[in-house]
């Protein structure tokens, strides 16, 4: 089967939750930017794959077309928690891989509320939050991090360093929500939300959108778009295999490990070949787990890896150079495509001050809480 390419991709600058326009207008902005990025129009698109979580039943993809061109093409609306955008992109990739279409558009968009995610109650009777532990996202990911601390002695300070690094990276990214340095003492001293995650170690709720134009090899040649095209070397989606504790402790590790293994096989490369990674740092604790899950270091070595600076810009394998979800922001349905935008921008050599030099292979990773993992590996073409 022939290769599939990203030819146009872009994201809006993420903004404070609730301050963006209506979801369809927000999605339309990124869609038009991605079309402009490759010089095509909505009339050139054969299908739209739209990722949105907050209005999953609201036909958001069609409403985006109502804003930018009702061409009558098929629209698929996707929801897959925080893996929503990556899933929408992957559906488009698959349709081209299967030979059904040559050119499709994928859009991820989210308008967020403020405050804590997760928790809630469900069922009758009395609220369970704070009675039977916590199901808020900061606590769930704190517990996932504590498992690493239990096994390997990982410290609060090491988890906090993730946030220092990603906030630093975001000072070089004008599209990030924040461009603010946060020294270690600031991160560790900010309000404790759920130990060991302080407020600055939790991702930022933002409104945002990102979009990509995906194309077959044949069409790329025909239109002469090879110059800035990025090759999709691997696209993998997994769900959570059964685990002993997963009724009470969502497992973000196993689904990531299985997806990474498949992705490296599909791309014909190993973790050592990857030049940069955008991974799911929804909380600072999560980033360290994924160094090991993605094979960037051995089991138990993630604490050392953050200490060594290997994952900072200038290091061996920079992680979340965009600022990550911690500082760029995390508009759930848009995040997966925004990650692909970041990697593509580096592979094109267009990342400005945060450019990872000589980047040839990059990886994106998202987790839809415990139960979905999407990984893509992208390769420089020209």
């Amino acid at each position: 089967m022939s290769d599939v390419y990203i030819v146009g991709i872009d994201m809006i600058k993420f903004m404070k939750a609730g301050t963006g326009p209506a979801v369809e207008a927000l999605g339309a902005q990124a869609a038009l930017m991605a079309l402009d990025d490759c010089g095509l129009t909505i009339q050139d698109m054969e299908a739209l794959y739209c990722g949105n979580l907050g209005q999953a039943g609201g036909m958001v993809g069609q409403r985006v077309l109502h804003q930018i061109g009702q061409t009558g093409i098929p629209v698929v609306n996707c929801a897959n928690a925080c893996a929503t955008g990556a899933t929408a992109f992957r559906e488009g990739w698959m349709a081209i891989k299967a030979g059904v279409y040559d050119t499709v558009l994928a859009v991820g968009v989210e308008k967020m509320g403020g405050g804590l995610l997760g928790g809630g109650g469900g069922g009758g009777g009395i609220p369970k939050e704070g009675l039977l532990g916590s199901m808020t996202m900061p606590a769930v990911f704190a517990e996932a991090g504590q498992e690493h601390a239990r096994n390997y002695g990982t410290t609060f300070e090491q988890f906090a360093k993730v946030s220092v690094k990603n906030h630093h990276h975001s000072t070089l990214n004008p599209k990030a929500m924040y461009q603010i340095e946060t020294p270690l003492e600031t991160v560790m001293g900010s309000e404790m939300i759920a130990y060991p995650n302080t407020k600055l170690m939790c991702s930022v709720n933002v409104d945002g959108s990102a979009a990509a134009v995906i194309m077959s090899e044949k069409k790329v040649k025909e239109l002469g778009l090879r110059g800035r095209a990025v090759r999709v070397k691997a696209s993998v989606l997994t769900s959570d295999p059964w685990q002993e504790r997963d009724l009470v402790m969502p497992d973000v590790n196993t689904c990531t490990r299985q997806a990474a293994k498949k992705a490296y096989e599909m791309a014909g490369c190993s973790a050592k070949d990857i030049n940069l990674v955008e991974l799911h740092d929804c909380f600072a604790t999560a980033e360290l787990l994924h160094y090991e899950n993605l094979g960037l270091c051995g089991d138990g070595e993630a604490g050392h890896m953050i200490d060594s600076g290997a994952t900072a810009l200038g290091g061996k394998v920079p992680v979340n150079v965009s600022g990550g979800l911690l500082s760029k922001g995390h508009p759930l349905g848009a995040t997966g495509i925004a990650n692909l935008y970041e990697i593509s921008t580096h592979l094109r050599g267009e990342a400005g001050k945060r450019q990872v030099p000589n980047a040839r292979l990059g990886m994106t990773h998202v987790i839809g809480l415990g139960s979905a993992c999407a990984i893509h590996i992208l390769e420089k073409v020209a």
């Binding site: 009395i126 704070g130 517990e143 759920a194 130990y195 402790m249």
Partner: protein, 136 residues
């Protein structure tokens, strides 16, 4: 005063005797679940799931000290995941220990205790019995 209701379905309050946590165990592969189910999601076996009484003894697997929660929920408290002896993992509040990482050791032995559900009542005014963990 009517007797309290269980806070969750898998907490059983017998007519006589002590309350306990009930698991459901797969006869095919031994996986233990909380709550009734027909099919085992580990091995896919159907009709092999039977109730079992879970132990009140266990060990703290991991925890988080929750300092920010939803309005009306008292913080800080310790959210804990406990592996019970003989199978089953449950989540709940760890009590009887300071909410301080220096005082809480992952792996430490705990017991399951049954107490009123922090004064929480439903719309009809019913009281609830819940479970908690405390060091042993």
């Amino acid at each position: 005063m009517s007797k309290p209701l269980p806070a969750v379905d898998f907490l059983k309050i017998p007519e006589s005797g002590e309350p306990y946590l009930e698991g459901h165990k797969c006869g095919g592969c031994g996986a233990v679940y909380l709550g009734v189910r027909a099919v085992c999601s580990k091995c896919g076996a159907r009709g092999k799931i039977a109730p079992v009484k879970l132990s009140n003894q266990g060990n703290l697997y991991v925890y988080s000290i929750v300092c920010r929660s939803f309005p009306g929920i008292q913080v800080p408290y310790v959210s804990a995941i406990v592996d019970l002896e003989g199978g089953g993992t449950v989540k709940g509040n760890l009590i009887g220990v300071d909410p301080d990482p220096a005082k809480i050791k992952m792996g430490m032995p705990v017991r399951v205790v049954y107490k009123d559900a922090l004064g929480r009542k439903d719309k009809e005014g019913n009281s609830y019995l819940s479970y908690f963990f405390e060091p042993r």
